[in-house]
Structures are given as structure tokens and as C-alpha cells.
Symmetry: C2
Subunit: 288 residues, 2 copies
Amino acid sequence: MQLAVSSDMLVEGRHFLSTVAPSRLGHKALAVNLSDLAACGARPVAFTLALALPQADAVWLEQFAKGLFSLADAQGCELVGGDTTRGPLNICITVFGEVPTGQALLRGGARAGDDLWVSGTVGDARLALEVFRGTLGVSAEVFDKARVRMELPTPRLALGMALRGLATSAIDISDGLLGDLGHVLRASGVGASVDVSVAAGLLATPVHAVSPAVTARRLEFALAGGDDYELLFTAPAQQRAAVLATAVKTQTPLTRIGHIEAGSGVRLVDAQGHLVSAAFASFDHFKT
Amino acid sequence: MQLAVSSDMLVEGRHFLSTVAPSRLGHKALAVNLSDLAACGARPVAFTLALALPQADAVWLEQFAKGLFSLADAQGCELVGGDTTRGPLNICITVFGEVPTGQALLRGGARAGDDLWVSGTVGDARLALEVFRGTLGVSAEVFDKARVRMELPTPRLALGMALRGLATSAIDISDGLLGDLGHVLRASGVGASVDVSVAAGLLATPVHAVSPAVTARRLEFALAGGDDYELLFTAPAQQRAAVLATAVKTQTPLTRIGHIEAGSGVRLVDAQGHLVSAAFASFDHFKT
């Protein structure tokens, strides 16, 4: 087996808002690290936790631990050590996973002709953030659901492991779909086409539940939202049935949003494969 | 081989002063983690670095990296990943080491009759801290040397590896000699006698170079100073020659400061083995 290691540091105001419930923060702090293991097809084994707190707050710690260990126990990932200290709130988790030698999913294996897939739903975390920021208004029901996506992300561990030997590359979406796709494209030396008509449908929030102002930003949230922790991966087109079988086996929705092609960068296309430029000029800054 | 993992989080004002040179901080952030590997007899392999910085400061980062990689390269310990983010200055390093299965030095193996050993010099880091705090005055020469002990600790990796199969327990001194000894005693279910006449001589700072006010606090600094990153370990008395041979082999000064005995807690004794109580009543709070 090979050891897979990931370390993420979460800072208040940057990775989470002060309004988040401590139990959700405990979940998220581990989830974002587990998501990195998922992206390389590793099985979680253990983690360390280093925590700086402004003051010892027993209630906060109890709730934080509740969220943290609920996810850790569900994934069989054991806390094996760490550090606590007084200081500005800071959470640093390092996770350890194992993957059979040579089977880790990497970023550099995407090939022209491969399908481009994304798991679950994407963009709702950003929608919730924009409501927090006051740039959008939605109903309480829509907000609560989107907020769960932001505060309680689901690391796609079962999917990652099922994709060993099937996906040619994989990454988790933490900085936005197009941004993370760019990492894969650069590492693989290829380009990609992404179908915006499919991408705009990646949000869990239904169109009918929100105002036209929100609807107008769906594609932006899906492609450049961030904080999604879904898997973005490539697989040969002839493996399409096998990929869909992993969706069933791991009970993870999968959407084919485009394909890999020769060249570099991302081409945004419509359902007919035509380049969308005029209407989406504002998306230029997403391009890699 | 078994994997040894340690994670420490360093916060400004608590683990280092704002006056520390960034290159020394880079050294220390890794050194305190390597010291934990040394204490279990592990060989360092790799580390991750998570770093929160108030702002991107190229000069600071260059100097920090210089100190960090100088130590990492010297110990063959490779940076394999990590995270950087904006936030109050916080450094979280997780180190990975390897040790032959079953040979890790642990805290629970001290037995009555074992010798109690400490490596190098202890207490000077605290002396430097007290000068920073303004509670003591020393010459610039004494201060500079003590400050190096505080800011550039030496992880005792060669010694730790050489003690495999020889030491019955080991710990690194980060919180003060008596405090860390207490961890060993509790884990091993034993007590210890410590010779204060020997302990008072553990500082590198010579008695003749400082004022009587400083001399009066030597024992306090040695026993409860903290930030020393020396190894405290136990070994059977019949292995005394073998222990001293590791001192030569690894070029690490070793001092026998007492022995393990049945019972619990620490007895401070003089050179004749008599309990010192009246004169050292102020040391009661060190007892475990």
C-alpha cells in the first residue's frame, strides 16, 4: 500500500464564517481533508488535529468534537494525535489514507477524448455564501439547504475508491470547478470542452425556487463557486458504462459535463457544441 | 517499519516571540516536531507544512524557508505537501518518521532501578526568555548564547535512533524537565529521584558568567524551564556503559541525573541522596 497524506488549515473568516455551528465546523474541518483522500482514491485510516483556540470553551469543544468524530467514526478514520494551544481560532488537520501501490488517482492522466465527469451537485455552497454576503436573497428553505452544502460537505470517499483503475485523473472541487479543472489540464497537458447547458444544471437548488436574479448566476456558481468538495474526474469514453455503474454502486450522482481535447485551457460550449463567447464574455476570467 | 507521526502548532506570542528572526523560526518549527520523532527513536522521512500568514511577505518567506529547509535537508526530511492561507501567523507542521516494528521508544517502560538520563544542556532557553521578559539581566554574550538555545533547538535524532533497544522509556523536554518526567512516571507507574546538585549544572551558561540573582534560579530553569528539546530517557543501570557509548557515537553529551524507583512522583535529593525539602519548598509545584 502507499500512504496518502493531506493537510489543510482552516482560518475563521476565510474558510468558515463565525456564524457556523461548532459541530458543523468539526465536520467540515475533517471533510475537506477527507475530500483530498477521495480525490486520489485512498481509504482514510487516521488523522491528527492541531487546534488553536482563543479560550477554552467546553461547550464549543464538545460540539466541535461531536461533528468531527461523527464523520471520523462513519469513515473509520481514527484521531491518533495532535496539539492544542491558545491563539486565534485555527484548525489544522492532517489525514492519512492508504491506496494500493500504483493505483492512486492523480491529476496528470487525462487524455484527449476522455469524458469529463463531476459528482453530486455543485454551486450551492457559493449561493449560500452570497446570501450571507447580502448580494442575493432567497427563501429560508432554499437558504437552509444551500447552507448545508456549504457547512456540511460530503467527501466522496466511496466514489474515489471505486474509480481506481477507471478514472484517468481526478481532483476535488474546492476552489471552483473551472479552477480545479485547470489544475488537471495543466498537469495532463490537455484542454477541455465544458457544456454550459449541463453545468448550469449542477446546482441542487431548483430554478423554480429562486428569483431571476439568482437564476442568472447559476452558471457562475456552478463553474466558479468553490467549497463544493465534489470529485471532478476524467475517464475513457469507452468506460462510460463502467463509470455509471460506480455511480449506482456508491450511490453517488454523476454528471458528464464535457470532454478532454488536445490543446490547453477550457472551451465553454452550448448543447450543440458551439463555442459560447458573446453571452458568456464575463466568464473569461474563469478560463485557465 | 512502523510510521511515527507528530503534529505541532506554533502561535506567535505563545511558542515564539515576534522578535525571532524568520530563518530561526523556520528551523524551530520543524525542530520541535523532529524532537518528537527523536523521542520515539524514529528516523525522519517527510513533513507537511500548513502556514497562515497575515500577508504575503516575500522576504519573510524566503528567510523562513531558508531556516526550515536547512534543517530538513540536513535530516533528509522532505516537504511533501501542505497548505498556505491568509490569517493570524500560525505554523502547523506534521512530520512522518519510520522506526522498525516494535522498536519505538515509548513513555511507559521505565522500571525501578533504571538510570535517568538527560541529553545536552537544559534551562538556557528559559534563561533567555526571562531576559526577554525583563526579570533578569545578563551580559550580551550570555544572552546571545542562551537565545540560540531558545530559538535554534537541536532535535536529538541520532541519539534517539541509537537508544532503540537500550532505553526503557524516552520523552523530549518541551514543557520542562520535571513536567515531562511526570508524563513518563505516570505512563510507567513508577517514581523517580532527581539529584538537584547535578540538575543545577545542566545549564550551558557558566555560573561565573552571571550574577548571583541568575545563579539562584539555575535549578528552577533546569527543572522547569521548558523549550529545551533535549531527550530525557531511562535505561537499566547495567546498560550504563552502553548508554555512554551512544553518547560518544552520536556526539551527544549525556548526564545521569537520577534514577527510577517504586512509587510515584519525583523526590528531589542532594548529592548524598538526602531529600531536599526546606530549601526547595518552592519546587513543590513542579512535583507530579
